[in-house]
């Protein structure tokens, strides 16, 4: 039996996480091919329904990667993103999904190593949680 390969959606900030992804690609740092990256101009633009919709559409885990606090290009977008993630976590829990399937994290500047660590860590975490029970 093959090991469960979780489908993960990573909402990535254009200014930090995306830059980190570029550096990761150029320096040969690897992350799971099942991770879909969605570029957003600012994580503050992500709304709660987007996060829930990702799970409805088949994601086993969702991660939102923003800039470090104090480094948001739009000042407070990452604070907003964190609040929305927290709200979505409690909404998921109400619907019977483990809130750990949704993660908020940040990377500094083009921090390729941290970026890849977040994604790999998320893959491991979701692998141990198992498939999204609302899809499979």
């Amino acid at each position: 039996m093959t090991e469960f390969e979780p489908k993960i959606i990573a909402f990535c900030c254009h200014y930090c996480a995306l830059a980190a992804a570029d550096v990761a690609g150029k320096t040969g740092l690897q992350f799971s091919p099942n991770i879909r990256i969605i570029r957003v101009l600012c994580t503050g633009k992500i709304e709660v329904p987007h996060l829930l919709k990702a799970f409805e559409s088949g994601a086993d885990g969702v991660v939102v990667i923003s800039c470090k606090f104090g480094e948001c290009y739009f000042k407070e977008g990452n604070f907003r993103a964190q609040k929305k993630v927290e709200r979505a976590q409690s909404l998921l829990q109400e619907a019977g999904l483990k809130p750990e399937r949704l993660l908020f994290d940040f990377v500094p500047g083009p921090g390729a190593k941290k970026f890849v660590d977040i994604l790999n860590g998320m893959t491991e975490r979701v692998r141990s949680l198992g498939p999204n029970p609302s899809v499979h």
């Binding site: 709304e47 329904p49 829930l52 109400e94 019977g96």
Partner: protein, 230 residues
């Protein structure tokens, strides 16, 4: 505006779990502004319901819709919405209590081949003001006989926990109400405002018994404006 908040998910789930086609209808007025029953909240509740049902291996359809005002026929009388209501086994109204009742009356009048069941997705909490992002506070109980001209624009019926007309009571402490330290003493505010206006003498005569008939105590209220009726 009318301020509401969403009911707990488990309560909503228990209302609809025996049905297979669910329609969630939001309302585009007060509850959109107070972020309890607008388009975004319809999407969220619908997503939650789909996730919960799928997890429990239930094959259930959750549709989404909006009406600009569920308290007015004009904004519900649209064929697309009526069609969605017709197809549903149960409708969750994300409007205030007025919207839930009015939608029930409206759709049961328009759709005659089957009764339409509409359940509330929100708790209607109060008529209040938006003090800051995400903060609302009660301002009016709709007593039907406004006294704000005497009390410096601060309502003692609504904002005094005892609705005193000759306050403040002995529980007023440092500008706060005895019921908790987060609640302002309405009469403290009234006195300060009237002092600033140089009108403190306004509250020195005894305010006599209130006639509660224009309030809910006189029974359900109704207004008919003959000048508006053709």
């Amino acid at each position: 505006m009318i301020v509401a908040e969403r009911k707990p998910f488990s309560e909503i789930l228990s209302m609809v779990e025996d049905y297979s086609r669910i329609l969630v209808v939001g309302c585009g007025s007060c509850v959109t502004i107070c972020m309890a029953g607008g388009e975004e909240e319809v999407k969220i509740l619908s997503s939650q319901l789909r996730l919960a049902f799928k997890k429990n291996k239930k094959d259930i359809e959750v549709e989404e819709a909006m009406a600009l005002r569920q308290c007015d026929d004009e904004y519900m009388n649209n064929p697309e919405l009526i069609n969605k209501v017709k197809k549903a086994d149960i409708v969750i109204s994300m409007a205030c209590g007025i919207g839930v009742q009015h939608a029930t009356a409206f759709f049961n009048r328009i759709i005659t081949d089957k009764p339409i069941k509409i359940v509330p997705g929100l708790n209607t909490t109060f008529m209040g003001a938006n003090l800051d992002v995400g903060v609302w506070e009660e301002r009016c109980v709709g007593c039907g006989d406004c006294v704000l001209e005497k009390t410096g624009g601060i309502c003692p019926i609504t904002r005094c926990a005892k609705s005193l007309l000759n306050g403040p009571c002995g529980g007023s402490s440092n500008g706060k109400c005895e019921i908790n330290k987060e609640t302002d003493c309405a009469w403290h505010l009234i006195i300060e405002r009237l002092e600033a206006l140089g009108e403190l003498d306004r509250i020195k005569p005894i305010e006599m018994y209130k006639d509660w008939r224009p309030s809910h105590d006189g029974g359900p209220r109704k207004i008919i404006r003959e000048d508006m009726r053709i």
